[in-house]
Amino acid sequence: MTTTAAAPRAGAPQTTIDKLADFADSRLGAAQIIKGSARKIFPDHWSFMLGEVALYSFVILLLSGVFLTFFYVPSATLIEYDGVYEPLRGQYISEAYASTVDLSWGVRGGLLMRQIHHWAALIFVAATIVHMARVFFTGAFRKPRELNWVIGVLLALLAVFEGFAGYSLPDDLLSGTGLRIASAIILAIPIIGSYMSFWVFGGEFPGEAFIPRLYTIHVLLLPAIMLALIAGHLFLVVLHKHTQYPGPGRTNQNVVGYPLLPVYAAKAGGFFFIVFGVIAFMAATIQINPIWLFGGYDPSPISAGSQPDWYMGFLDGSVRMTPGLLEWSIGGYTLSNNILIPALVLPGLLTGVLVAYPWIEQWATGDRGEHHLLDRPRNAPTRTGLGVMGLVFYGILWANGGNDVIATHLALSINDITNATRVALFVVPPIAFIVTKRICLGLQRRDRERVLHGKETGEVFRLDNGEVLERHAPLSAEERWLLVQHDGYTPIEAGPAVDANGVRRPGTALQGVRRRLSNFYFGDSVLPVTPAELAAAHAVHQGHEAIEATDDVQHNRPAITSDH
């Protein structure tokens, strides 16, 4: 079909497919598109499927969400319920809640679609965050992909907002309580908080304006923005070509893998159906958010052990952790730091650090080159340590979001748990950093050891002089390559503080910061083995003496200096 389309008018199209191809090409230039992209090469690795899971969950959310809009009524008006779910009859509940209960109980496949939608949402956010972690730990955010990383961070942030919006629409007791908390966060904003709250809710909380507004935001505004960002995200993946893991034959200048047509069309297309299938299986067998049991929203009753969806947990945990004494009364005004810091400042800071990270690291390395080969996490010990530190920090906040559940299940004092997490939040992440970094450095040294001395064979022999040794088998070139292929970095060196005329150079203070940062990153780097080191190790081996794979080695290697 491509040959015909590529050479139109050479002869009259013969078959129906030829005719279709000719139709498409003469109107869309389809032949050029197919020629340029249909055999595009993509590298293969299981961790590249994490982003796919996120993408496919998003598509599943769009599909199942459209079904839900056919039955859901976005109205907070109270009505006397007279629907299919008997226990609620006669109660005054909102139309939103009534329609959600009815679509669950009275529409065939309605409950299934709601559960698919909810499970897909949880998986979407989870896959997004795990995908982000993969990108972080392998250094896939490095140049030229920094902007795509930023798009990804924005998508993760929007995913959390979109999830919260959707979760709030049924207007049940649990989600209404969530909105009550959202209104309190808005109220806490200095100066304009109470006005903003009245604008957002159309008056006093809860009001009747908010549910329909939230509906528009959930089904139109946020999905449109996310769709545009996803399109940009994927466009950049194609533009940059996918990163690949290091290995024999893989370089910074090539992509090794399989063609889009037919292999990835089948694999990725098939994987969409697998993800959808698994989510359908979960929706068929695992109940989620049975809102008919909670009752409609009412500010008076509440249930113990209230938990939001998992991705809100870290915010809930940070709010639970913050002591009330941070609420200050200053000059007749109230500054609710006990809400502002954990609910707005903290997530803002986390987002800011994530957005800035690629440039922070670039500043420390001084490396402005393009990187298409992924790092093994051990080969970037400081980055890996920082990443684990971030995850541990997040994990502690998240765990504290369930402090009440932990307390009741483990029969502990909730105050003790909260106090413990308050301390742990500041103590444990730095420890996690140090431990992770040491593990990475240890793994790197073991890699050096393997390259220099070969693999252990388990064969032990004795020399004439009585010395007992284990025979080491040399690595194959392929095995060795994985252990020596990475770039080694050493800290940026300081330029002179004064120029040739003895005048203080501008920006030296900043350079001092940069030098310290670079030293923090690479002060104790373990560099990959060079051929010279291996030759030296072999020479020494003739006498059966080991050369230690320590940092000393790096100072004997020839220095390579580039001018930045």
């Binding site: 299919v84 009275g106 604008w199 159309g202 992509v255 006990n338 770039d487 030759a535 580039s562």
Partner: protein
């Protein structure tokens, strides 16, 4: 300034400026005739799969793929059967579960069959020779950059914006003001708060009624250690007050302590051991509805702010800062509990103007 050790590109590299250092410096420092870096050994030899060398294995794989697709069709039939089998007219929980499971498992089979079939097809029967595609630097060549810069310069020059500062200044001013009307239009999304965040329906003479059955309460109805959730009388759906909005501020509790247990400060507004407090959390407005009698603590289930009932509902732990406002109570001529005034503080979350 940095030592960057370059990867040695294998033969198929192109001089694209995509070297790790960016500056493209390749330094040939050799020690003892050895290269600075190991050479990339190149792609390992391709190892054929069973289906590549054995016709029977290939045919077996083909059958497995076809079975997957056939199972998908079976799943579709299960879904259709499930749809017609269980009708959801006033269903029982069991019927709902059956319907959900049948339709859901059918859908699972439909989708999963197609997915696994396609992936299996790709992995066993489609060529698995790794192919190499070259990357091209994202960065444009200097000539293209220069051309692009020229085009932009010409465009700006032709617009005359540099030569006519009046246009630039006035356009800047217009663009700066343009968003204001848009923001102003959003102002009508809600009224101004006025005093409404501080007020509630509680005032002198309003009876306390039980929540949710709205019956008045005799002082003798409440025993020591028990707690009653209350609302102001007259707050009903479709009544003169907006129901949920007023409820969100007026929801309260009344409980009985031993008379001598009532805190000094709370005593004037209590009635023979009965004390009433707003149950709208002063942190984020959740309902402070968990009462632990043994410690005389009210606990908010949202963020675990704890309030000491014996100390006028002062905060003893958690993220709240202000005590729960007390509701002054007494009895009316019929012996029913009534408010003897408004709440002694602002119910619910803090806000800027609270002071």
């Amino acid at each position: 300034m940095t030592d960057v050790i370059h990867s040695n590109p294998v033969g198929d590299s192109e001089p694209s400026g995509a070297s790790p250092s960016g500056s493209g410096t390749t330094v040939d420092t050799r020690a003892g005739g050895l290269p600075d870096r190991f050479d990339n050994p190149g792609l390992p030899e391709h190892r054929p799969r069973m289906a590549d060398i054995d016709v029977a294995a290939a045919r077996r794989a083909e059958r497995q793929v076809a079975i997957c697709f056939a199972l998908s069709a079976v799943g579709s039939i299960v879904t259709i059967v499930g749809y017609f089998l269980v009708r959801l007219a006033e269903p029982t929980a069991a019927e709902l579960r059956t319907s959900n499971t049948l339709i859901g498992l059918g859908l699972f089979l439909t989708l999963f069959g197609i997915g696994v079939g396609a992936v299996h097809w790709a992995k066993t029967l489609m060529p698995d020779h790794e192919q190499i595609e070259l990357r091209h630097a994202v960065e444009s060549t200097p000539e293209v950059k220069a051309d692009a810069a020229d085009i932009v310069t010409v465009g700006i020059d032709e617009s005359g914006i540099r030569r006519r500062p009046l246009i630039l200044a006035s356009l800047g001013g217009a663009l700066a003001i343009a968003p204001l009307p848009a923001i102003l239009l959003l102002k009508d999304t809600g009224p101004n708060p006025g005093n409404s965040l501080r007020t509630s329906l509680w005032e002198e003479g309003v009876r306390l009624v039980r929540d949710p059955d709205k019956t008045p309460i005799l002082a003798s109805d409440i025993e020591v250690g028990s707690i009653v959730h209350i609302l102001p009388e007259g707050l009903v759906v479709g009544g003169e007050f907006s129901y949920l909005e007023e409820k969100a501020k007026a929801a309260a509790i009344v409980l009985r302590l031993e008379v001598e247990e009532v805190a000094e400060a709370a005593r004037p507004d209590s009635y023979s051991g009965l004390v009433a407090y707003s149950k709208v959390c002063t942190h984020m407005g959740c309902s402070v509805a968990l009462y632990e009698q043994s410690t005389q603590t009210l606990l908010c289930p949202c963020h675990q702010s704890s309030f000491d009932v014996l100390d006028n509902c002062r905060v003893t732990f958690g993220p709240a800062d202000r005590p729960l406002p007390q509701l002054p109570i007494g009895v009316d001529a019929d012996g029913y509990l009534v408010a003897t005034g408004g709440l002694k503080g602002t119910p619910g979350p803090s806000f800027w103007e609270l002071g």
